[in-house]
Subunit: 652 residues, 2 copies
Amino acid sequence: MIKKFRLGNPINTESVVKDIPIEEGNLEGFSFDSEKLSFKKFINPKTVIYGLGETTRGINKRGFVYKSFCSDDPNHDEDKQSLYGAQNFFIIDDGNKAAGYYFDFPGIITFDMGFTELNTVEITLSYGDADIYLVTGESKTSIVKQFRELIGQSYIPPKWAFGYGQSRWSYFTSDEVREVYAKYKEAGIPLEMIYLDIDYMERYKDFTISKEAFPDFEELVSDMAKENVHLVPIIDAGVKIEKDYDVYEEGVKNNYFCKKDNGEDLVAAVWPGQSHLPDFLNKETREWFGNRYKFLIDKGIDGFWNDMNEPAIFYTKDHLEEVFEKVNDYRGKNLDVDSFFEFTGMFYSISNNMEDYRRFYHNMDGKKINHEKVHNLYGYNMTRAAGEAFERISPDKRILMFSRSSYVGMHRYGGIWTGDNKSWWSHLLLNVQQLPALNMCGFMYVGADTGGFGSHASKDLMLRWLAVSMFTPLFRNHAAKGTRRQELYEFGDSKDFKELIKLRYALIPYLYSEYMKAVKNNDMMFKPLSFEYSDSRVNEIEDELLVGESIMIAPVTKQNATGRYVYLPEDMKLIRFRGPKNYDEEILEKGDHYVKAETNEVLVFIRPGHELPLAEAAMSVEEIDYSTIRYLSYKADGVKYDMYDDDGVSRN
Amino acid sequence: MIKKFRLGNPINTESVVKDIPIEEGNLEGFSFDSEKLSFKKFINPKTVIYGLGETTRGINKRGFVYKSFCSDDPNHDEDKQSLYGAQNFFIIDDGNKAAGYYFDFPGIITFDMGFTELNTVEITLSYGDADIYLVTGESKTSIVKQFRELIGQSYIPPKWAFGYGQSRWSYFTSDEVREVYAKYKEAGIPLEMIYLDIDYMERYKDFTISKEAFPDFEELVSDMAKENVHLVPIIDAGVKIEKDYDVYEEGVKNNYFCKKDNGEDLVAAVWPGQSHLPDFLNKETREWFGNRYKFLIDKGIDGFWNDMNEPAIFYTKDHLEEVFEKVNDYRGKNLDVDSFFEFTGMFYSISNNMEDYRRFYHNMDGKKINHEKVHNLYGYNMTRAAGEAFERISPDKRILMFSRSSYVGMHRYGGIWTGDNKSWWSHLLLNVQQLPALNMCGFMYVGADTGGFGSHASKDLMLRWLAVSMFTPLFRNHAAKGTRRQELYEFGDSKDFKELIKLRYALIPYLYSEYMKAVKNNDMMFKPLSFEYSDSRVNEIEDELLVGESIMIAPVTKQNATGRYVYLPEDMKLIRFRGPKNYDEEILEKGDHYVKAETNEVLVFIRPGHELPLAEAAMSVEEIDYSTIRYLSYKADGVKYDMYDDDGVSRN
């Protein structure tokens, strides 16, 4: 059951698709402080909190303060309160009863989940207009299902988007792209996508192609397509200010960009320097910007990633000038601890500055709204612009689309990747822990930058990360400029990598089937154990996940470990994979086990009464031969796996 | 057996105390590349590497690149290659044979421990002068013992320094110090030290006391002493440039400060702004600076902590001026991705700038030596200055001394704390993992900022951290300006805290005894399991430690966990402590166990054939009554614990 409570006069975020009558009074179960705009609730020592989508920390969100404020900041350490997305749905499960809460609020909202006081949840809004939904049901799964029905069906990518993709900031030339393909081919490792980061554009201008670097762009696209390899270019939020650049000129002329209070277009710098930010909260801007993707679709492109749409702002022209004006006040003085850190602080805070986010406005259906109040809708509406356009431009064929920034509602138009992570073992574990929370909030086509975007990856980290990402719908290896090359042929002998990527392809019939069923049934593809089991241990299991109906995974996320502890909530069959045809099987009893797993091994546990379909490996999704599927199973006499499949491209 | 190899003409760091003849040829077991100045060795897949003192990552140092370059940078994430200390001793254990290596080299040295190539160790020097010691022996423990004999007996603090101390940056006034004491007393929690951070000084000037903030300093010291509470002030490396400040005037007059190439004293800013850095590598400076501690000892002070001695440099006057000169070149331009990050990079790199470390020189026995070459000796020699002075000033009574920066050799003059950590669960685990590595390198009086220095601490983190720090000789709760108060009375009900601190006091007879025996026998107080057991599992145990001869600890380092897996290499008796008199016992068999541990519980495992002495709790070390000691034991018939004790103050 869903109840809706309203505070003030909320902005319509269009994140929900159902009309629910508004209840009288305050949100049930919480006390409300109208001065602090905060909602408080006592939680008992055993209460577990789930959800909040793309956030830091564990599956249990308890014990930290999270802040929804979409942020471009790559240093995700234990202090990090805001990542790239804002997904304000969570479940509080006190052991006897669970309830889901969705704060449909596009501004800054903080969730003190038992940090300041161990036994108190306190949620604070930055202003007093919000719709709040209370979702109750028999189980956590039923709560999620109802919430997902409320927000509408999740995005479905083309089936080829379940293949393995290689990315880097950047492949700078057409030749470099061809080389990446050739080296994968030489190594015998399947490759389905090559991603183009910002340098394919002419001076970082959206919907342009660098003539020097990619003189043969269309030929490249079609050559790759013949090999079943899709080129997936990036699209950035900011539009370069440059006379005669048509996107810029059209945007200015038609008032498509975000404006300052005085009516001038805001000058906010990103990659190309001074730029304007399209006002994606304006329907006309969305339509205009969305149509622009046709430029690339016409060249054979059928997938995109939307970036920098928190929006990231390196600096605004106005604020930078303020800094320049202040700098010289510090010159020639004895700067001590106070004045020195004040001085350097000016520079540390130039990018993504809060005052800059208050400096501009949107035009939402004719209303002028300060950006800060609707900050978390920006990336959502950029991707919505694309998603809505794709339905017009490509009515018959799905287009791959995923975004960095997000808000609930965006899940209908695309997936997300979990942003600029690092080659850290802790981020590998974080990757695992984020997956069920993303699913709860409707984000189904998800995955992390495998191997880590920032920092240098080692071979063992890459192997362990592949053993996780091979289960995520989005499976992309991506790395930043200046980091060690991490294409899978770059670590010496690539045999183990080849076997793991082949295993991914052998699992695609299962993964695609489970993905599609989860989308259509408003279910989760990745579940914490506690969503299906209820013994005393499962609430604390933070590094095992149920993936679809048949299997549980338990990845190794620690360096130098050749095994790990696994808790089994019931008897299961362990498959220790070293490749699609190389594995051993062992039946393990309910309870605790120490299980060996070398760096080339993937632990999969088949649940009793279930089958895991496994095809022969193929070099592309298209080439997967379903007639080769065999079934690994455990106690599954008379059970038949319910396989979903379709043509992989038609819109559903 | 120890063999010494020499490269070039090394600087004498005085880190070793024994004369070993120099072998012919290159370091045994490594290939040497004289162009890259790198030493390479193949390691097999099962090889484990131990040591390197205060570094990041696990007990097994394999899989990362470490760099010895003492650094003041509080953001210790997974990328961090250099912390505050430089302790270039490590053991490579290939399963059949272990060998220890000590690179006595005071400049930048990198240890690629199987990161770039999984099966290769590569050690690279920044210049070609070094003494390298190869230590072989029957066991890892014997290798450590020989190395420790080589470098001389570790520092012994006064016994009261095993009490519990409270610190904060800062207690700003005498009244605030008295209030902290009063609140601990009111809560019934033992307290042995209160630390004074930089604000007790007059404008951050070493060897001064703020007359406004601490008008009754001597009275405060003696009032606290009556309650068995020691005030422990900080001493910083930098000396404020201020006319008529005697320390400054004497230092300039006698050429005690580090100089630039042109002979002028370097101007390097820290807390007070522009300062000079005492040239601690100069014997005369050491004697002069060391004698200065008498100013505080005469006021009743008997303990100090030396800080900022990497040395930390906020900025140098020369470099800051260079930055100011460049700033305006960027004004009025369209800064794009390249020029903008170049611009902000100028400011990010002002502090602890490598070029600044090359900008000044030391006078070592009349030789002018560039700082970069001997950087890692700076903190060592600051603390040596103090330690040598204490022997003169206080020949009969031990003085508490610990330092932030360090190098092997400094262990003879003081302990260390592990620097500016954070209130992160990962840093709690890191704390555990650093302890044996520090002991290997001679650092015995060690401990972390309990609860975390930076970031905000939650009550559960604080409880879990106490359960680790209660075993470390240095047991200090310390937090930074701007963070949540973390005195133990600041988290609501303090009953659990009281029980844990009382447990510490009950354990002090054991901890002091084990500390002293380890120091005198050149043994480790904290050992990885693999130092005493040799089954197939112990090499990968990263979160259990042997503490002294009788016990193993297995702390919970994960949030929201009420239990953990424990591997027992033999049968042991679990004592689950909730306080010195509140515990339960259980005998557990060799092997894997899932063991419950609520946030107020401490897991201690008694090894077979051993006794753990436990006294009645006391409010101070002096008040511990050894006649109340009872012995918890396991299979210890006929065994008698070998208790070391002494008067706790006399120098040994």
